[in-house]
């Protein structure tokens, strides 16, 4: 059982946030039009950058719901998944690309099919290892720093997953 049953994204909160953001832009446009314009351009750039990943997430969600039965997912990434589950979560986190929020919908979908919260937390933290940017990190901080930090990130991701699972179990026991 997850911390919360699959939480349906609240439609209203999204529109409220969008309205608040819009107000920020209006206020900024009046106080400093150059910043507002630059902010808008940067936001557009971000949108262009994540659009292909969103498309990928869309098709992955559709394929997931078409071909993979919730029972199978729960079996491989649920309560009894063991080391296989950890490897999938940590490996998936390291390999996945793009900002974390783009992956929220599909992770929530997996969660609703029985994936443990601990594995989702581990996946999120393992994303801190950015494979394509490792050469840049090595260039700035050296190979030893990059290697040690990456090992600790994986260890930290696993520990956070374990802690989350314990907290989930406590919540379950108290119900």
């Amino acid at each position: 059982m997850n911390m919360e049953k699959k939480s349906k994204p609240k439609k209203r909160s999204g529109w409220i946030m969008l309205a608040i953001t819009f107000i920020f832009y209006i206020v900024t446009a009046f106080s400093d039009p150059a910043i507002a314009e630059s902010a808008f351009n940067k936001a557009l750039h971000t949108l262009k950058m994540i659009a292909p990943i969103l498309l990928l997430v869309f098709f992955l969600m559709a394929l997931l719901n078409t071909f993979i039965k919730p029972k199978k997912i729960a079996q491989h990434l649920g309560k009894e998944s063991g080391i296989k589950g950890w490897i999938a979560a940590l490996g998936g986190g390291v390999l996945c690309h793009g900002p974390g929020y783009v992956w929220f919908p599909i992770l929530n979908e997996l969660r609703s099919h029985g994936v443990r919260d601990g594995l989702i937390v581990a996946f999120f933290y393992a994303r801190a290892i950015k494979l394509p940017w490792l050469p840049v990190m090595i260039g700035y901080f050296g190979g030893a720093f990059t290697l040690v930090l990456s090992i600790y990130i994986l260890l930290g991701a696993w520990l956070q997953g374990l802690i989350t699972d314990k907290l989930t179990a406590k919540k379950r026991d108290s119900l």
Partner: protein, 144 residues
């Protein structure tokens, strides 16, 4: 039992509905990220560090947590911070928090995963950014 094309159609509709539901929040977050990137300069970030390693590690985690952008930006800023004399503890915490904590994305995470999951995940990320920064720096000082 429903046929494969029918299942695929239903799955596509369901995926579209899921993404459509989060679109307003997604646009809001992208808008906020744009505002942050345009309004907050690296110089502003440098000025927030105090010189005390312990305090700077917490400050580094907080600044990394609110900052957004491509990871390489955190390496560039982190490299500059090191040159300015900020400790490796603080710089490690900063670059780690940059990619693992998302204060700006909190409303979206909250709306999708719920309050408890979001709080636990971000709190753990914050604590582990501090712990891993310390562990990395201590390990390197022992190794090198």
């Amino acid at each position: 039992m429903t046929s494969l094309p029918e299942r695929l159609k239903q799955a596509l509709v369901s995926a579209f509905k899921s993404l459509y539901t989060i679109m307003p929040m997604l646009f809001a977050i992208i808008g906020l990220i744009g505002l942050f990137q345009a309004a907050v300069t690296p110089q502003m970030l440098y000025s927030l560090f105090s010189g005390s390693p312990l305090q700077d590690t917490v400050i580094g985690t907080l600044i990394g947590g609110v900052s957004v952008g491509q990871p390489f930006l955190s390496y560039i800023i982190g490299g500059e911070l090191l040159k300015e004399g900020v400790s490796l503890y603080a710089v490690s915490a900063f670059i780690l928090a940059w990619v693992s904590i998302g204060f700006i994305q909190l409303p979206m995470e909250w709306a999708i995963f719920g309050r408890r999951f979001t709080l636990v995940r971000n709190l753990l990320s914050f604590i582990f950014a501090l712990l891993i920064a310390c562990a990395t720096t201590v390990t390197l000082s022992l190794l090198l």
